[in-house]
């Protein structure tokens, strides 16, 4: 969840997953999760920098995928 924490820190100045534009939907029992980039992404790339697992990257210079 480093992407979520980074997003909230860069965009809201605090750590709070609710304030992140990226949302993670996780199932703690199966340990599966999905990522969703919601409306408001400013393409700052903080999440891409934070992700250590290649779950996020640049699709082109204007789209985080």
């Amino acid at each position: 969840m480093l992407c979520v924490l980074s997003c909230s820190f860069f965009n809201a100045g605090v750590f709070n997953p609710e304030k992140s534009i990226i949302k993670i939907n996780k199932n703690d029992k199966t340990l599966k999760f999905t990522l969703k980039i919601t409306v408001g992404c400013k393409m700052c790339g903080a999440c891409v920098e934070a992700c250590a697992y290649n779950a996020l990257g640049w699709e082109d210079e204007n789209t985080v995928n």
Binding site: M1, F15, A50
Partner: protein, 644 residues
């Protein structure tokens, strides 16, 4: 019943949520002075335990307190800082403290608190729902008696699937003295029986569902140090294999070196180990994918699936090497799918994997030596026999039949079985884990006897550990580390001068044990993980920079280590007040009397006098006398005389 709290950003101020179970009431304690002295996590918990827990009580008395603190840097982007600490007077009789990862550190801090202090005993089973506004005391009668998985399922359904849930299973409810508190489904506050204390308070679970904010004083500095820490962790030579195998990386090496705890510490190597319980075998046949704790870029955890055999279709977390060393070696189960089932049973019942496996191994040896009869148990317990072992796990967790006495732990059990003391593998009431001490006497092994929570391997570590064979010396262990890793080490120069020779080729064990113990206090206080990529690259200077940026202090590495030294001493004094003496700082007789077979032949027992010499040297470095009593000047130097 809701109470409005003073909601304000935490800043440097420590904010502790005090919960009175008996009166279903809560309040907040705010303290400016505690943060720079005790940080959070184990530091804060130690202070609270030391200051506010009566050392004359029984661990199951209502007067016992439970402290749960998030690491000071948890819930942020500081890599690996995800962890929390739970502390109380343990059913072992001494310090009980245990650390856990996952997302709980974040969950606690989103309630705008650093810590919970739970006191008193509820009148009927309760669970707590906590958010940034306060506490709800909810009836838990309908989940009392349910296992951990059912409990978490129920509470996530009721309180929201993103709630962080810690809970106890039947073992905690019934007072198994090594019951765990499970953090979610798979993470554990495993050691020292905190689950039994929670059960004695009729507290089934705590749900954290806050929406608070974690603030940082110096955002730019925080980002810089976060990046610097990440770069160091990701540059470690150990990163690749830690992610690939997780803790399983050492499974094969333990067998090759002959340091497995095989069959209750009687065999250091086991035939066909790599082919049945090795890291590649596990990876090829069971591992499905990796996952990580909330703030971690390493991802050492795994998800496994059993593809064939009786348990085909089982999917679960694992394998951790502790599982395979405990159930695979100590109890001799060769089938990984059966090891996973044993662990799943422990997770569901809420019991520490290490103590459970150790107690069963002790029982099997008692049975083999004819000190316990088949009629006492109802069936034959055997090493390697999944049927009898899984049955025993179930009996312990439910405290039924022979499980009643097994639930007391080896420290208590050995009093009933005269003549079994030699192979009762515990230290200070806590069962000894994972590694045979006779293979190599190093910082890790000295750590078993000096650890303030008893026979355990998780509170004293060296940042330069390398698993290679060497001739036992008792005073020094050789330094095997690449030049690159040496440059990544974050150890203060004056500490290096004491620990290493010059140029560095060897490690002075007692000095490293003292430093390694203080380093892990800092790791546990800040919420850091001790996996090799972190332990080898992050030390007091990086920690102090991150702490200063977050809270606006100006502490340096020396100050951090001095505070850690104070915290260790406070834990030790707590134990002394509980009646601990220097006599407890010893291995069970097996390790001083018996040879250990391994694939290279036979290794001799430990040299009692040389172990003692290393121990006394450690006492001296701590400023304690030869009876482990802190000297007056030590108490004065650390300012503990003012707290007592």
């Amino acid at each position: 019943m809701w109470k409005r709290a003073l909601t304000m950003p935490l800043g440097g101020k420590m904010r502790i949520l005090l919960i009175d179970l008996e009166n279903k009431d809560f309040s907040y304690i705010e303290d400016e002075a505690l943060r720079p002295l005790y940080f959070g996590g184990i530091g804060l918990n130690t202070y609270l335990l030391f200051k506010y827990t009566d050392t004359k009580i029984d661990p199951m008395d209502r007067e016992n307190n439970i402290f749960i603190s998030s690491g000071a840097l948890a819930g942020t982007i500081i890599p690996s800082a995800s962890r929390s600490e739970m502390t109380c007077l343990s059913p072992t009789g001494y310090l009980g403290t245990t650390n856990s990862g996952g997302s709980l550190g974040l969950g606690i801090r989103l309630c705008n608190i650093d810590a919970l202090w739970i006191k008193g005993r509820a009148k009927h089973p309760l669970y707590l729902k906590i958010d940034e506004k306060g506490v709800l005391f909810r009836d838990a009668t309908n989940i009392w008696g349910k296992d951990v998985f059912e409990t978490v399922d129920t509470l996530k359904k009721k309180e929201g699937k993103d709630a962080e849930v810690i809970s106890i299973g039947m073992a905690g409810e019934k007072g198994v003295r090594y019951a765990s508190v499970q953090n979610g489904y798979y993470h554990s506050f495993g050691r020292t029986g905190t689950g039994a204390v929670m059960g004695s308070k009729f507290l089934k679970a705590v749900c954290f569902k806050g929406n608070g904010e974690i603030t940082v004083k110096d955002k730019k500095g925080f980002l810089e140090i976060s990046r610097a820490i990440r770069e160091r962790i990701m540059s470690s030579d150990s990163l690749g294999y830690t992610r690939r195998y997780g803790s399983m990386v050492v499974s094969d090496v333990y067998n090759q070196m002959g340091i497995l705890p095989g069959y209750n510490f009687t065999k250091g190597s086991i035939e066909k180990w790599e082919e049945t319980r090795g890291r590649r075998f596990f990876e090829k046949n069971f591992k499905e994918r990796d996952f990580a704790c909330v703030s971690c870029p390493i991802g050492c955890l795994h998800w496994s699936r059993v593809k064939e055999g009786d348990y085909a279709g089982l999917e679960t977390h694992g394998l951790e090497v502790t599982y395979v060393l405990e159930f695979g070696a100590k109890l001799g189960i060769s089938d990984i799918s059966k090891i996973l089932i044993c662990v799943e049973l422990c997770n569901r019942l809420g019991m520490d994997v290490i103590s459970t496996a150790s107690v069963i191994a002790y029982l099997i040896e008692l049975f083999e030596k004819d000190m316990v009869k088949e009629s006492d148990i109802g069936f034959k317990p055997m090493f390697g026999d999944f049927e009898s072992i899984s049955r025993l796990i179930f009996l312990i967790g439910n405290k039924e039949g022979i499980g009643r006495i097994l639930s007391e732990g080896i420290g208590s059990m050995k009093k009933y079985f005269t003549g079994s003391e030699d192979f009762a593998c515990e230290i200070k009431g806590l069962e000894i884990p994972v590694r045979d001490p006779r293979g190599r006497f190093d910082t890790w092994i000295l750590g078993y006897i000096i650890n303030t929570r008893g026979g355990d391997h998780l509170k004293i570590r060296t940042p330069v550990d390398a698993l290679l064979d060497f001739k036992i010396d008792y005073e020094y262990e050789p330094l095997f580390i690449s030049e690159k890793e040496m440059t990544l080490l974050d150890i203060p120069q004056k500490v290096k001068d004491k620990i290493f020779d010059n140029p560095p080729t060897k490690i002075h064990i007692p000095h490293m044990a003292k430093y390694g113990e203080e380093l892990l206090v800092l790791f546990n206080a800040f919420g850091f993980c001790i996996r090799p990529p972190v332990l080898r690259t992050i030390g007091p200077s990086m920690l102090s920079k991150a702490f200063n940026a977050m809270y606006g202090y100006d502490l340096n590495e020396d100050v951090l280590l001095e505070h850690a030294e104070r915290i260790v001493n406070m834990q030790h004094i707590f134990n002394l007040k509980r009646g601990l003496t220097a006599k407890a700082y010893t291995f069970p007789e097996r390790f001083y009397k018996e040879y250990i077979e391994y694939r290279g032949g036979k290794r001799p027992p430990l040299d009692r006098m040389k172990v003692k010499k290393a121990l006394i040297e450690y006492f001296k470095l701590r400023g304690w006398d030869s009876k482990a009593k802190p000297k007056k000047e030590t108490l004065h130097r650390l300012g503990i005389d003012k707290i007592i």
